[in-house]
Assembly symmetry: C2
Homo-oligomer: 563 residues x 2
């Protein structure tokens, strides 16, 4: 008799596991059971469907050559039996069978398996606040949600939308709705959006989103959604702020769908995800699991974590497909937590852990912020602000963040590979990257950022984070804020906080204008703080003992400025 492989879930991990299993084993009987109507939904594409990058929903389920991945496709092309609109209601690990029910007809079916793969995904966390059931309140999780929002966006059925939660999906939805001409307000409980970034990096994205017309409330939560005739009419925040709106999108995160696995007695991790070993095998050796419903290992911290991302799901599916056929031969090593998000003409990306996360995990780090153009000025340079975080005692890179209009995606990709390889700051100093003027400066941002961190680690550069400088301003601390840019640059951007302007080239001839007290605190900066650093070194050479450099210069300053 043929081996029966049953895959629960037909979105990302499931079809990948099934397809790979078919390639590895032409004889097995393979069945996918999918609760939704569609298979292989590219759900990461929903915001771009809503925002109007494309209008045909069919594109979300097509192969690169334009063939829809429906049951007919799976049967003809892959000899896989895909059953849709059918929810698996229980797993019987003793009898090795599952029970499922058609979501429309209610018809019940049973299916025996030799090997089972659970890819049940995740469900959105819905805030338990008054008004959450009103019409016009939605999440963005299913194709139905996407079509609902697409209809609103395309036909301008909303004037003002409130988005609860400023994570990846919240920000992507904010962009999509803004592009459709809808005013948006993001309400985020934390003191910043995009929690994979450190605060001073996230604030740069917030600035950009505001410049595009969006409102953002951070450190605020929606306490209540108010309605009129069953329809959303507004929200009330924790500080009693009232915002009128006709649409609410809740995007405060997802939770793994691990109940089915738990009910079958499979081990569930502390994170709430299904526990799996390096072969993506659950506590039952005949059952594997992948995708949003499992927990994975962080290659940075070594801890188990949830990582509900489409790319990880696919890669895990491929691992399972092989292990089903070969026995446990192929490992899924884990994630370095790489994420990226387009925010209009800005991109925000990150890999590894943030400095804030490192602090919470008790990892001592050294970090720097660095701003630089992504290619030469004569090629139309676009700025990137980058933050690099290394473990203090080893120099190992544990996090890189980048935001800006430049090619952030490439730099985060470089960094992600470096994290996978466990590279140190030292390893990055003389990287041989693809250089030609259309693609990067002679020394790529990623390398110069490592140079700056190296300078800081070795004690040459005394960098100070913008967050710390802001705190000094806020507390009214007295220090000499030294701007070493040229006069024309001041017209373009300036703090207007009583800074002393002495262009670097004029510094040597104007030392009389500097504080008399050689122990006075001086914080030097320029546009990106390379000249700021040179000023620090010069000032030290003439006897100043307490000179710091504002990291990233004025370009990376995430707070308000005069200009």
């Amino acid at each position: 008799m043929k081996k029966s492989i049953v895959v629960i879930g037909g979105s990302a991990a499931g079809p990948k596991a099934a397809s790979k299993a078919r390639r590895m084993d032409p004889n097995a009987e393979i069945t996918i059971i999918q609760k939704a109507e569609n298979l292989s939904m590219a759900s990461c594409g929903y915001p771009y469907f809503i925002g109007g990058t494309f209008d045909e929903e069919i594109k979300l389920i097509c192969t690169p050559t334009g063939v829809p991945r429906d049951p007919q496709f799976f049967f003809n092309v892959k000899d896989i039996n895909a059953i849709v609109s059918t929810e698996v209601t229980s797993i019987d690990p003793q009898e090795k069978k599952i029970t499922a029910k058609h979501t429309k007809t209610g018809e019940v079916m049973e299916k025996k398996y030799d090997q089972l793969v659970i890819c049940t995904g995740s469900k959105p966390i819905v805030p338990g606040i008054p008004g959450i059931d009103l019409n016009g309140v939605t999440t963005l999780h299913t194709m139905e949600d996407a079509k609902f929002l697409k209809d609103i966006a395309k036909n301008r059925k909303s004037k003002h939308a409130v988005i609860i939660g400023g994570g990846l999906i919240g920000i992507e939805v904010a962009e999509a709705l803004t592009l459709a001409g809808i005013k948006i307000t993001v309400v985020e409980r934390q003191d910043q959006i995009l929690s994979f970034l450190d605060l001073e990096m996230a604030k740069l994205v917030e600035k950009h989103l505001k410049a595009k017309g969006g409102n953002i409330y951070t450190g605020a939560s929606v306490e209540k959604i108010t309605g009129k005739n069953g329809q959303v009419a507004g929200v009330e925040l924790s500080d009693s702020t009232k915002i009128k709106c006709d649409l609410v999108v809740s995007s405060i995160g997802v939770r793994p769908n691990s109940d089915l696995a738990a009910d079958a007695g499979l081990e569930i991790g502390e994170t709430g995800g299904i526990a799996v070993n390096e072969y993506m095998q659950t506590s039952d050796e005949s059952i594997y699991a992948a995708g949003d419903c499992v927990e994975v290992k962080s290659l940075v911290t070594g801890k188990k974590m949830l990582w509900p991302m489409g790319d990880a799901a696919n890669l895990q599916g491929r691992v399972i497909g092989q292990n089903l056929a070969l026995g446990n031969k192929v490992e899924y090593k884990g994630v370095v937590s790489t994420g990226i998000c387009k925010v209009f003409d800005f991109v925000a990306g990150s890999t590894g852990i943030s400095e804030g996360q490192a602090e919470r995990d008790g990892i001592e780090v050294v970090s720097t912020i660095h701003a630089a153009p992504d290619r030469p000025g004569f090629m139309g340079a676009l700025p990137i602000v980058m933050k690099m975080i290394a473990e203090k005692n080893t120099g190992k890179i544990i996090g890189v963040q980048a935001v800006g209009m430049g090619d952030v995606s490439k730099r985060i990709a470089e960094a992600a590979v470096a994290l996978h390889a466990g590279m140190t700051v030292d390893d990055l100093l003389t990287l041989d990257l693809p250089y030609a003027p259309p693609f990067s400066a002679a020394i790529d941002n990623f390398i110069t950022c490592a140079h700056v961190l190296d300078n800081k680690i070795k004690g040459y550069m005394k960098g100070i984070n913008p967050k710390e400088v802001k705190a000094k301003f806020d507390s009214g601390e007295d220090f000499c804020f030294l701007d070493v840019r040229g006069p024309d640059e001041l017209e373009e951007m300036r703090f207007g906080k009583g800074e002393l302007n002495l262009p670097l080239g004029a510094l040597r001839a104007n030392t009389d204008k500097l504080p008399e007290d050689k122990n006075a605190e001086i914080i030097a900066f320029c546009k990106i703080s390379l000249r700021g650093y040179e000023a620090q070194l010069y000032l030290e050479s003439i006897g100043y003992t307490n000179v710091k450099v504002l990291e990233g210069g004025i370009v990376a300053w995430p707070y308000d400025r005069e200009k």
Copy 2:
């Protein structure tokens, strides 16, 4: 007395070494002596200046904030004495002094040094053929060359240019002149352009260049440049082909300027470059050298090589700047040979060594060619053809090439970092890269390429390189060429070489149309050969013993097709 640091050469490595030395040592007396009139020329930008990306030559010597890096700048900002239009004519290592001569006045100067840095760069190799001295024959090496070509391009002073040499600079010039409305013909002695690529990859670039109106002669050399009244009128090739032209750009490569070092008794490597240790120190411990004039270590082969690239020069300069001040503390590890080139809306890049190079070096490899869109279809996917080469016995990645309209730069950057880290195919299989629909498919090209190579290494996929299939066609070999695409796809592209068309979805129902002989050679393909691979596996499951897959599918086919 102050320590005297003298730097010979003011282009890339020299100013970087001097500036870094200044940052490390505020007290040293630092002098740059530069033969040309300008300092810190961004010579990699010449093709874009010529092609009209920008018109102001001053931009080639400006800082990111628009300040020209002239002697005044070096003096005021960095306290560095930069002397231009002055050629160092000899080094006296015993007396620790150099002699130099003003290039215009002939005035001679001497300068004592405690530490010397040689950054004398390279000179273009000029073919010793009749007519090379005619007016209208140039290289692209100096600002004068760039201005000469810019004038021709801007004022349409040429109708047809012949470019001798299809390397990086030759192809960049070809693009620049074409953009300026000048017809170009590239003549390359090798059987392909861009020798960092393998032939089947280079042919894809040649196709693109031809589609943009360029002519290319490979396997051909210019024997003679003919003239009329002292002005170029045409060229004659080795096979007697005569080409009329009014401009010839010779770009057959460069040679290190190591004569000055050799005359001073410094060790010169077998490559002709100045020999340096890992600290960029020459055989004289007071003398360092960097840039085009030195030889560096290949981190892939372990051999010494020339690597005249602007990014490497800068990174070497930074290493020297530190070692001058600290003693030998900082290492320049070497290069993985990463290069990239924009060719209109195509990009061609490579890191590591090619399969051809590996063969010549006696390294046994396994490789694959892979074609895939760089992001989902609904986001406007652009194709990339990638080749990945691994050492056979270790699985270590030793080369990655990519060409196409997609984001090649990111993939080559990822690969370059992986090569630096010594990663294996296995290490790439579950990489966590920055995924969101604007930036990549759910599984990035770089990872899917590793998957295909993994499938090949493990014996699942039996890939065959397009070069080998072409050889089969050329020798009239008999095999079944099986196209498993759909009928509509055939209308878009097809070989027209008698292939059998059976769409993958119809294969199981049409086995009677396949060769009767189960040992017959079948070469399956589709658009990118994923379905080709699935066809191979299915055919094997029904008893076929000799099924191969055309790697990269029809998209990566670099030769002529019917359509």
